[in-house]
């Protein structure tokens, strides 16, 4: 029961945080120089058209009136209309978010598969050749431009070898499954369309590898540090002296206590991935949130910027909450009440 009340209380805090962030971003966008209507209509739109469109979006009203309208709308679950797409921001986000969610989740899986074992091995073989190799690989991961890696992978696996598909979420000739969740993989499974499913997975591999590799470097480092920290503790020595097998020591006495910082990093990495990744989206023609928000900022599309930030704030808050709840499962000493 206490967990539920904890979640409830956290959700309340979350609302306050989101409201605060929305307010700050709302005023920043309004204060910055630039005119979204003028930008979207281009340099040659006649002045009366610009004025008319500005009225249509309510940008002619005083800022405080716009702010009150915005808050009222926010409580109704509306984020206003985007100037650059001429549609409600919430509709735009609903359309973009599933693509980002799908890619982010796939990337996180890749990052975990690569990052955590690398970190553990690296810690167990501290200062050994394997450790140096792994640290080199992860250094390569953080320092390599995503843009370049994406293009090179496309060049090798799509263009030269032809074993993986090119950009996009599906091949042009594969009809996309009906939209249920917006996740092509899940929708194709739900409708029993296995060709589309296989194709969607194949399309995910390269972008997820690029993003996952990039994130795995970070995960590997934290895992290494965390495991090293645990290795130094008394209970590990005790377990060894007790004659436990190395496998049992690793799973029961090392990984579990080392998990807390790892989970924290995973939460941050996932949050970052869910914001969308502009460069990867651009290279792989992925219709995600990153390119939407970038475009919104270029055009000073007030509502889209504020709406996007609100969504990202909610994502981060929810992930934080999940991470905190996971803590109590991993370490029973942590209790929420």
């Amino acid at each position: 029961m206490s967990l539920y009340s904890y979640i409830l209380r956290r959700s309340l805090y979350m609302m306050i945080v989101v409201l605060g962030i929305a307010t700050i971003v709302f005023f920043i966008t309004r204060i910055l120089p630039g005119d979204p209507v003028g930008a979207i209509l281009g340099p040659q739109a006649p002045p009366d058209v610009v004025d008319k469109v500005r009225r249509e979006y309510g940008f002619d009203k005083p800022i405080y009136v716009q702010y009150i309208d915005f808050i009222i709308n926010l409580f109704k679950g509306e984020l206003g209309k985007s100037v650059s797409t001429n549609r409600p921001v919430i509709e735009d986000i609903k359309e973009r978010f599933p693509a980002t969610f799908e890619l982010a989740t796939a990337s996180l899986i890749v990052a975990i598969i690569i990052g955590i074992p690398m970190g553990i091995i690296s810690a167990l073989r501290k200062d050994g050749a394997l450790d140096h190799l792994i640290r080199l690989i992860s250094l390569f991961g953080v320092s390599m431009p995503v843009f370049w890696l994406g293009l090179i992978l496309l060049l090798i696996f799509y263009f030269r070898l032809g074993i993986l598909p090119g950009p996009g979420r599906l091949d042009p000739y594969i009809p996309s499954p009906p939209r249920i969740t917006g996740l092509v993989t899940l929708d194709s499974l739900l409708t029993g369309n296995f060709d589309a499913f296989k194709n969607a997975i194949a399309h995910l591999i390269l972008p997820a590898t690029v993003l996952g590799y990039f994130s795995s470097a970070y995960i590997a480092r934290v895992t290494r540090a965390s495991v090293l920290e645990v290795l130094r503790q008394e209970h590990v020595k005790f377990a060894r002296s007790k004659g436990l097998s190395s496998g049992a020591i690793l799973t029961r006495h090392i990984i579990k206590p080392a998990l807390i910082p790892i989970i924290t990093v995973l939460g941050l990495v996932y949050g970052g991935l869910l914001e969308g990744a502009v460069l990867t989206e651009t290279i792989f023609g992925w219709p995600g949130l990153g390119s939407y928000l970038t475009r919104a900022m270029i055009y000073m599309d007030y509502n889209a910027i504020v709406g996007g930030v609100v969504i990202i704030a909610i994502i981060y808050s929810v992930i934080n909450l999940i991470v905190d709840i996971l803590y109590s499962y991993i370490d029973p000493r942590i209790k929420y009440g």
């Binding site: 120089p33 281009g42 739109a45 074993i163 598909p165 390119s291």
Partner: protein, 554 residues
């Protein structure tokens, strides 16, 4: 058991038993190898699709479609949407690129206007059907044009500048339509606006069946189509793809390409890979470097064509220095036009110095300005500034090639003594300031909204309509009157002569240094036939004439 304990140590060698980390890594390795080999076997599939991509009845285009807002003709006003809408809807008249000087009949068979040029009558072609089979009549044209005025969206001004109210558009019988204009207007000008996609003819029955509130079906038409054009909009996944299906009822006969897939590929490098691989037939948006790489590649054809876009330096006449015509002329002589085209644009531009682009009526090929440092210095001395002066140049931040051009102009002007401070600005901010007349020098572009010289002449010449002349505070009544005269001139050759006068006058006195006309490139597989690029940014691109020559796989 002891060795395994040692295994946990930092630098000891692995013991005889494999430790868990080894087991985990071996399992992972096996998983990785297994998944890769699965896709190696599965590899056949994408390869088959490469052959499919060359299917003769499907055209795959790679371009950036993120600008598209709506596929409703009354709303569409972005490059992508206008290009798509032109495949979905017919208009009274059309242009046949590359000729943009004279319209050709489309839904209207013929037309005439009253001697005073204000009352137009159009004869509607019989036998045209909408994609759903409904016959197209003058009533439908009346509905569609009135709809543009009633909805009054972004592009409505194109019609609103000539037509006062919806009731001035009347279908007098099933195949006759009359339009009353506000005032006398040059026929070519009015027709060129009727050829724009805003005047696309919508099936009123379908639009109204899907109307919500008083939107006349605009919400539904955002991603559906109800036209009589060669294609039907089958699907538009925003930022992913647009799929067009051939209209079986198309009155000119169904097109040879049955499906057009426009894939969102914003990254030029990815576009190039797709094109070389043969997975797309046409790539819009490659960089000049890529075009040069592809020029001699077997199986790829490059088309090069000037578009109706001029790049210019605007000089605000309100500025103390720039108010002096000699200073403006000095700047025009200080700029290295050839250097910009050769070194920065790598030849991807056409040398034009007048304000009406090629190939419109009234295009003036005069290029009197060239880099002449001594002449520019002398002009500055005559103007009373032998030591030059300080000035600001605004340009869109981070934009290419604008940034490089701005830097080059800074260097060019420095040589004649004019010290330029570069002011890169976000586009939103720059346009706002330009509109408020608060820039000094500005590097900007002007694309013609429709292929009639009036569009550019007004913007550059007539300050009263508050566009470029006004933004640069060049209040010259002589040229503004000439622009108005040409606007109303019914006779084509008299009008052409007027534009010669206007362009010559602005070339000499105007507060603009026109730098060049933009040249665009489109790269395609050689199996694509009959693709005629449109200088008007795809507004008049007709994909229904394109067909594919089946190619044997090498």
């Amino acid at each position: 058991m002891k060795e395994s304990g040692d295994n946990m140590g930092a630098s000891s060698k692995p013991g005889s038993r494999l430790g868990l980390p080894w087991i985990i890594s071996i399992i992972l390795l096996i998983l990785l190898v297994a998944s890769w080999s699965y896709f190696l076997i599965y590899a056949r599939q994408p390869q088959q699709q490469i052959q499919l991509a060359t299917r003769p009845d499907t055209l795959v285009i790679a371009m950036d479609i993120s600008d598209a807002v709506s596929m409703d003709p009354a709303v569409a006003y972005e490059f992508t949407s206008v290009m798509v809408v032109n495949q979905l809807y017919d208009k009274l008249v059309d242009f046949e690129p590359p000729d943009l000087t004279r319209v050709v009949p489309e839904v209207a068979e013929s037309w005439s206007y009253s001697p005073d040029g204000t009352l137009w009558t159009f004869k509607i072609r019989q036998g045209i059907k909408f994609a759903n089979g409904d016959p197209l009549t003058a009533k439908d044209v009346e509905y569609s044009l009135r709809r543009v005025l009633i909805l009054s969206k972004t592009a409505a001004w194109l019609l609103q500048q000539f037509i006062a109210k919806p009731e001035d558009i009347v279908a007098t019988d099933n195949y006759t339509l009359t339009i009353k204009l506000k005032e006398k207007v040059a026929p070519d000008l009015f027709l060129s606006v009727l050829a724009f996609t805003t005047s696309g003819i919508v099936n009123p029955r379908e639009a109204e069946a899907h109307a919500s509130g008083n939107d006349m079906g605009s919400g539904w038409l955002t991603d559906h189509s109800a036209g009589s054009g060669p294609y039907i909009l089958e699907k538009w996944d925003r930022n992913s793809e647009i799929v067009l299906r051939a209209n079986p009822n198309y009155w000119r006969g169904p097109p040879s390409i049955k499906t057009i897939i426009i894939k969102h590929v914003p990254e030029p490098a990815t576009q190039m890979l797709l094109l070389q691989k043969g997975d797309v037939d046409i790539a819009f948006g490659l960089t000049i470097d890529q075009i040069q790489q592809l020029k001699n590649v077997k199986g790829i054809r490059i088309l090069e064509y000037p578009v109706l876009q001029l790049a210019y330096i605007g000089m605000n006449v309100n500025n103390t220095y720039l108010s002096n015509e000699k200073v403006r002329t000095a700047i025009k002589y200080a700029i290295d036009y050839d250097g910009i085209i050769r070194d920065i644009l790598k030849g991807g531009a056409m040398k034009v110095q007048t304000i009406i682009p090629y190939p419109l009526l009234g295009f003036n090929p005069a290029t009197p300005y060239y880099r002449d440092v001594n002449k520019a210095k002398q002009l500055l001395a005559e103007a009373g500034y032998p030591n030059g002066f300080d000035i600001e140049l605004a340009y869109p931040a981070g934009a290419h090639p604008q940034e490089e051009i701005a830097q080059k102009i800074q260097r060019d002007l420095a040589e004649v003594g004019i010290r330029v401070t570069l002011r890169p600005m976000a586009a939103a901010e720059m346009y706002q300031k330009y509109r408020q007349q608060s820039l000094q020098l500005v590097l900007a572009g002007w694309g013609s909204d429709y292929p009639d010289p009036d569009n550019n002449a007004k913007a550059f010449g007539d300050y009263r309509i508050k566009q470029l002349a006004w933004r640069n505070m060049w209040y010259d009544d002589k040229v503004a009157d000439l622009v108005e005269k040409a606007y109303k001139e019914l006779d084509r050759s008299t009008r052409e002569a007027l534009y010669k006068q206007i362009t010559d006058y602005i070339l000499e006195h105007g507060p603009y240094a026109v730098l060049y006309q933009v040249v665009q490139y489109v790269a395609m597989r050689t199996w694509v036939e009959n693709f005629v690029p449109d200088p008007s940014f795809g507004t008049y691109l007709d994909l229904s004439k394109v067909y594919k020559e089946p190619v044997l796989k090498e």
